[in-house]
């Protein structure tokens, strides 16, 4: 049996266990699309815009841990995929993005729909390939999947000139041998000496904090993290990307840290004498001013990417390795160590943290506001969503105030349930990501929490949801403004709302949803919120868009004071600072 390059591609994808390709056809990809038509193992999901394809594949990957696969055509198809590639790159998500390219002999001639995809995508991919011959397609695909998933994961682009998939030329298919690259050996075992040093430092500390991020989720290390803390019983905070890796219901959980982190999490970080960073990268949204960061803390930093260590904050004890392996080694070492953690000191530390929690914890005076307000408070929407879904939903979000409210008030107890664009901060991510999650887990509740700004950036995917019968729920926290932009304008620009309002130009979201063939509901009164959410979630087989009109004056707090602030410097409300 002999196969065309397009067929070789599909065979290789099947061998990688690919179930879904998210894509959009076009000239340079048509041979591949014909090969898709003539096989039955891989399903193609036709999105309405290539950005949607990349976000959907990304959502699928974040929820399942498997690589997401995208297929686009050359030129505009490829460039439309760029935002999604950058999103995945910033959050270390394994994607394999296959782009059609013009025929080899036309490359460089400014031919129709030609873009140098390898060049355009170079800074935002982990690696990329321009296919030189059809016969190498299977081994390139295998290598791409290997690179995307191993080490610090990331997106890989395979650019395939149209002539390399031409059905006129046929080749034998042989499953390639396991990839070996002399320049890429990602399986790094944590150094035993460093593990020993780390264990000693942790056990000798009196005010430790575990600060876990996305790397702990991608390494599937939630179990190990909980196991470690059953021994240590020390406070744990999660980054925006790490939420769910340590159960929010655990009383040692501090909530999220950083820019909009909880008072207790930020105070604990600032006052810690040891910070155990687990798959987190001391991003500028965490540290505030790096020179003022946690002045008395010894830093133990576990990361699979050596370049993440000591990039922003100098690590005293660096551990390069997979989070899972490193935590397992650390648990072993701590169990066998003669030094025991000073439980009295830890008790005092946890008591101090409880005091902070009571003083300015998140739920502080929210309930009072809820009673007094005639308008719906956005945070309460998230709290009610949590109640209605029993805290069990997969929640995607877009970017802005609503994203932070979910991070603060939807208490994730499991990893891979919270799916958002943390690094790049991509508006338009939520709806296509939810679509990808729902395809992976059709029986689970999948909710996209969004805002009236973000949702309009990829709203066309409502049509995709109808085509494939994907009954997700969309909660639109509608404050009739670009909320986070306006918050900054209120705080830093004298309340001058430059280009952050729409002047009565918003669409009627209920009608819009209905015209896409789904159900739209609108809530304006606090008394109707719970009922409407319940009604929406009772419609199991329908996509329901719930447009919730909320108090437009609400800001996200706490908020780190910048510039020149440390983690203890926070705005707690519009008028109150720490």
């Amino acid at each position: 049996m002999k196969y065309s390059g397009g067929e070789l591609l599909l065979k290789a994808l099947k061998d990688e266990g690919v179930k879904f390709i998210f894509g959009y056809p076009g000239g340079a990809a048509l041979h591949i699309y014909d090969a898709i038509f003539r096989q039955k193992y891989v399903d193609h999901i036709l999105v309405r815009h290539e950005q949607g394809a990349t976000h959907a594949a990304d959502g699928y990957s974040r929820a399942t841990g498997k690589p997401g696969v995208v297929l686009v055509t050359s030129g505009p198809g490829a460039t439309n995929a760029i935002t999604g590639l950058a999103t995945a790159f910033m959050d270390s998500i394994p994607l394999v993005v296959i782009s059609g390219q013009v025929q080899s002999h036309l490359i460089g001639t400014d031919s129709f729909q030609e873009t140098d995809m390898i060049g355009v995508s170079r800074p935002i991919v982990k690696h990329s390939y321009l296919v030189q011959s059809a016969e190498e397609i299977p081994s390139i695909v295998q290598e791409a999947f290997y690179i995307a998933q191993t080490g610090r994961p990331g997106p890989v682009v395979i650019d395939i000139p149209k002539d390399k998939t031409d059905p006129l030329h046929k080749y034998k298919y042989k499953k390639p041998a396991k990839p070996y690259l002399r320049s890429y050996q990602p399986k790094i075992k944590p150094h035993p000496g460093q593990i020993k040093k780390a264990a000693k430092a942790i056990l000798s500390s009196e005010r430790p904090v575990i600060y876990a991020g996305g790397g702990a989720i991608y390494s599937n290390a939630a179990k190990e993290l909980s196991e470690l803390n059953k021994i240590l019983k020390v406070p744990v905070t999660n980054t925006l990307m790490g939420l769910g890796v340590y159960p929010a219901k655990n009383k040692l959980f501090l909530g999220m840290l950083g820019m909009h982190g909880t008072y207790q999490a930020n105070m604990a970080m600032h006052n810690a004498d040891l910070i155990l960073a687990v798959g987190s990268r001391f991003d500028d949204r965490i540290t505030n001013t790096p020179s003022l960061f946690a002045p008395n803390a010894k830093i133990v930093h576990i990361d699979v990417d050596p370049a993440s260590i000591s990039k922003i904050i100098k690590a005293d004890i660096p551990i390069v390795g997979q989070v899972k392996d490193s935590l397992q080694a650390l648990i072993k070492e701590i169990k066998r160590s003669k030094i025991k953690i000073d439980t009295d000191a830890i008790d005092i530390w946890n008591t101090q943290i409880d005091k902070w929690r009571k003083k300015h914890g998140l739920d502080h005076d929210l309930y009072q506001k809820k009673l007094k307000s005639k308008m719906i408070i956005p945070q309460v929407v998230v709290q009610e969503l949590y109640n209605v879904t029993n805290g069990n939903a997969y929640v995607t979000s877009d970017v802005g105030q609503h994203q932070m409210f979910v991070a603060q008030y939807y208490h994730f107890n499991k990893p891979r349930r919270w799916i958002n664009s943390g690094g790049l901060g991509t508006m338009g991510f939520g709806l296509p990501a939810a679509l990808g999650v729902k395809l992976a887990f059709p029986k689970q509740e999948v909710v996209c929490v969004t805002g009236e700004g973000s949702i309009q950036m990829c709203i066309q995917e409502l049509s995709t949801c109808l085509q494939y019968g994907l009954p997700i729920k969309i909660v639109n926290i509608n404050n009739e403004a670009l909320g986070m932009v306006r918050q900054w304008q209120d705080m830093n620009y004298g309340g001058r709302h430059s280009a952050s309002t729409y002047q009565n130009s918003l669409p009627d979201f209920v009608k819009l949803t209905e015209s896409y063939g789904h159900v739209g509901l609108k809530v304006t009164k606090p008394s109707n919120l719970r009922k409407t959410l319940e009604k929406a979630f009772a419609m199991k087989n329908k996509l329901v868009f719930i447009d919730v009109l909320v108090d437009p004056n609400e800001h996200v707090y706490p908020m780190l004071v910048a510039p020149n602030g440390s983690m203890k410097d926070m705005w707690l409300s519009k008028t109150k600072k720490t």
Partner: protein, 161 residues
């Protein structure tokens, strides 16, 4: 601080662009860059001369190392190393006077003389390009080309596959 970084990189299409692009993407400077394939032709050795604090150079080497096509990276400046650069000067014959000849003869040179111009290739071991040009006199030089620095460990330490 000036740093000399040696890189072994796969000799594949796009590999060089990735390495060079990374300097720009991460906001690092390139003072000079030299690259050519070695022995079997499947990989190349690059020498990049850059400026930066210790932290910046540590980041550069780590980020370069992350590139899939990069096999090995070494910061030569961390230890004893030998670094040279080839500079080729071209002079109009009438300006190639005894004073200039005297300056250049202190160096390792190879000279090609024609009736109209003289080309002098200088092996510069002390990277004193600026002072060399100054002593010759900028206006006396007709054309210059530099190879960029190439470096190697002076000790037994190596950067082989």
């Amino acid at each position: 601080m000036k740093r000399t970084i040696s890189i072994l990189i796969e000799n594949k299409p796009g590999a060089l662009a990735r390495a060079v692009g990374l300097f720009h993407q991460r906001g690092y400077n390139i003072e000079s860059l030299n690259v050519a394939p070695l022995t079997d032709g499947t990989y190349s050795r690059m020498t990049v001369i850059t400026k930066g604090t210790e932290n910046v150079v540590e980041q550069i080497t780590k980020q370069i190392n992350k590139l899939i096509d990069v096999i090995k990276v070494s910061d030569l400046s961390e230890g004893e190393h030998h670094e040279i650069e080839l500079i080729i000067f071209k002079f109009i014959k009438s300006k190639y006077n005894t004073r200039i000849q005297k300056i250049l003869k202190k160096k390792k040179i190879s000279v090609i003389e024609r009736s109209d111009v003289v080309t002098v290739a200088v092996i510069d071991e002390n990277s004193d390009f600026d002072s060399l040009v100054k002593s010759i006199g900028k206006n006396n030089i007709y054309e210059i080309v530099r190879s960029g620095g190439v470096g190697i460990h002076e000790t037994e330490k190596n950067l082989n596959l």
